[in-house]
């Protein structure tokens, strides 16, 4: 899993975010403030510009650049959360990247920063099952499917973290936007890294 493949992953994630921007915004309008699509797209567009200008030399440099760029450009809740995730991924990435290991580090970063627990209706609910699948030796495709299931499972939940928590019971019945963007991260991994895991 070389830097080139990982860069392709990040670029595919950016493409999927852009393609699904409206859906993410729609979800965030229902239970948040309607900016998750714009936030992620602003961040990932900046990431792609940075990578165009300065191709990164190592997985760790790549993840660090992505993390720093997201922190500098996104704002909101998702900026520090995705940003911290990628910074932790950078720290965990050796020369040969083990996807299970780096995503576990990313998940730990999200939890350290946001203090969400599983079932709080956040991005953790999609990321945690994906990491568990990888750690159980399953394929990236299987991890992406686990993320999708995690996202579906957020629908009936009452949010306990993030803006959706202000809605109380009214937050039930909608998928979490951050969990949805996490499924895109995993879907991008499945198409770009699926045969390399």
């Amino acid at each position: 899993m070389d830097t080139e493949a990982l860069t392709a992953w990040i670029r595919e994630f950016a493409r999927l975010i852009s393609a699904n921007k409206a859906e993410l915004t729609e979800l965030d309008s229902a239970i948040g403030d309607g900016d998750h699509g714009a936030n992620m797209d602003r961040g990932m567009t900046a990431v792609v510009s940075v990578l165009d200008a300065e191709p990164q030399e190592s997985p760790s440099a790549l993840f660090k650049k992505v993390g720093m760029t997201l922190i500098s450009k996104v704002g909101g809740a998702s900026g520090p959360l995705y940003g911290t995730a990628f910074l932790r991924m950078a720290a965990a990435a050796g020369d040969d990247v083990d996807l299970a290991k780096v995503l576990r580090a990313g998940l730990d970063g999200v939890i350290a920063r946001g203090k969400a627990e599983p079932g709080d209706k956040t991005m953790v609910d999609a990321l945690a099952p994906a990491v568990a699948a990888l750690e159980a030796g399953k394929s990236v495709q299987a991890a992406a499917a686990a993320a999708d299931q995690g996202r579906e499972a957020t629908i009936p939940l009452v949010a306990r973290k993030g803006r959706a928590s202000y809605l109380g019971e009214r937050s039930a019945g909608h998928a979490d936007p951050g969990a949805t963007s996490v499924t895109l991260l995993l879907a991008a991994a499945a198409t770009t890294l699926g045969d390399k895991a």
Partner: protein
């Protein structure tokens, strides 16, 4: 969507340019999207930095100036600013006595300010203390959730802590004043219409002609419940009752009563509301010591209002009355 804007992508930079043109006393750093008091850093004075998503004008930039904030960071519409902005603002106002971050309680704001404080302390050794504002009784407070939102009390915290800083008091004391104001303040809001985020181009939620949304925040989040439209006296009761049940406002020096417009509510309606609020307070035996009526913390073009009550003590009243000279709040100077 009908708005006095150019490209929705440029609303914030265009507005910042206009703000700079209208208020030459205040410094605007376009690149960082921060607004800084003209004479910052004031040596020996604690610096006050706030900020948040845009769309709440005049909050926060309109409150930059002597007696209130030293700097404000403008995020995208309804989106927390990024740490780089907060770092730049903190450095710009650091007069050697430390810097207070006034943060509205939203996950994004909390985390971005937290990152900024870590960065600025590590790189520059600046002492930073954060105070979180969380006054919205529409949201149930709980250890297991994100807690209450920061809404109207933000204006009162910025004014009163700003006056304490202006008196030359040390960082710990200024932070304590800010925390006391927050702990004595409660708010509740109501929407007659949704707001429209420029980039979205359509109202965030649907609110049909006969209905209103009670317990809304300042970001177009849906409220806690939807009810039929009601006359001002009933609306005042819906907003004031939960506030009075949440905190005992008797026994102090009365309250600072703040009736706030959400952006598209004309002043005549805010005065009608203020009359109802003060009548409820009179019946409850709570004197109105000071008042504030107007659009000070808004939600773009939302029609509606919020009520904030702050239980006052002598010091709070003295600091409230202290001179302030900002674009949006000015007295005694």
């Amino acid at each position: 969507m009908k708005k006095l804007i150019n490209d929705p992508a440029n609303v914030i930079s265009d507005a910042l340019l206009g703000f700079a043109a209208a208020h030459p006393d205040v410094r605007v750093d376009y690149e960082n999207r921060i607004v800084v008091r003209g004479d910052a850093p004031v040596q020996g004075k604690v610096g006050l930095v706030s900020g948040g998503g845009s769309g709440h004008e005049p909050l926060h930039a309109g409150f930059v100036g002597p007696g209130m904030l030293d700097a404000a960071c403008a995020g995208e519409v309804f989106t927390s600013p990024v740490p780089d902005q907060m770092v730049a603002a903190t450095k710009a106002v650091d007069g050697g006595a430390g810097v207070l971050h006034i943060v509205k309680n939203y996950t994004g704001d909390i985390m971005n300010f937290e990152l900024a404080a870590e960065m600025v302390e590590a790189e520059h050794g600046t002492q930073v203390v954060s105070v979180v504002v969380d006054d919205d009784v529409a949201v149930q407070d709980s250890l297991y959730t994100a807690g209450r939102r920061g809404v109207g009390a933000t204006v009162l915290v910025e004014k009163i802590a700003g006056a304490a800083a202006e008196e030359g008091r040390p960082l710990g004391e200024v932070a304590d004043v800010a925390r006391r104001v927050n702990s004595y303040a409660r708010s509740m809001g109501l929407a007659l219409t949704s707001c429209t985020v420029p980039a979205a181009g359509k109202p965030t939620f649907d609110l049909p002609e006969g209905e209103m949304e009670v317990g809304i925040g300042i970001h177009g989040e849906p409220g806690r419940r939807r009810v039929p439209v009601a006359p001002a006296n009933e609306i005042a009761d819906m907003l004031v009752s939960p506030i009075l049940s949440d905190l005992d406002f008797t026994g102090g020096e009365g309250v600072i009563a703040f009736v706030n417009g959400m952006g598209a509510t004309p002043l005549i309606e805010l005065y009608v509301m203020f009359n109802e609020v003060s009548q409820i307070l009179a019946k409850a035996g709570i004197p109105v010591a000071r008042s504030l009526v107007g659009p000070y913390i808004t939600s773009l073009d939302m029609a509606g209002c919020s009520v904030t009550l702050l239980k006052a003590d002598d010091e709070i009243l003295r600091l409230w009355d202290a001179p302030v000279n900002t674009p949006a709040l000015r007295r005694g100077v």
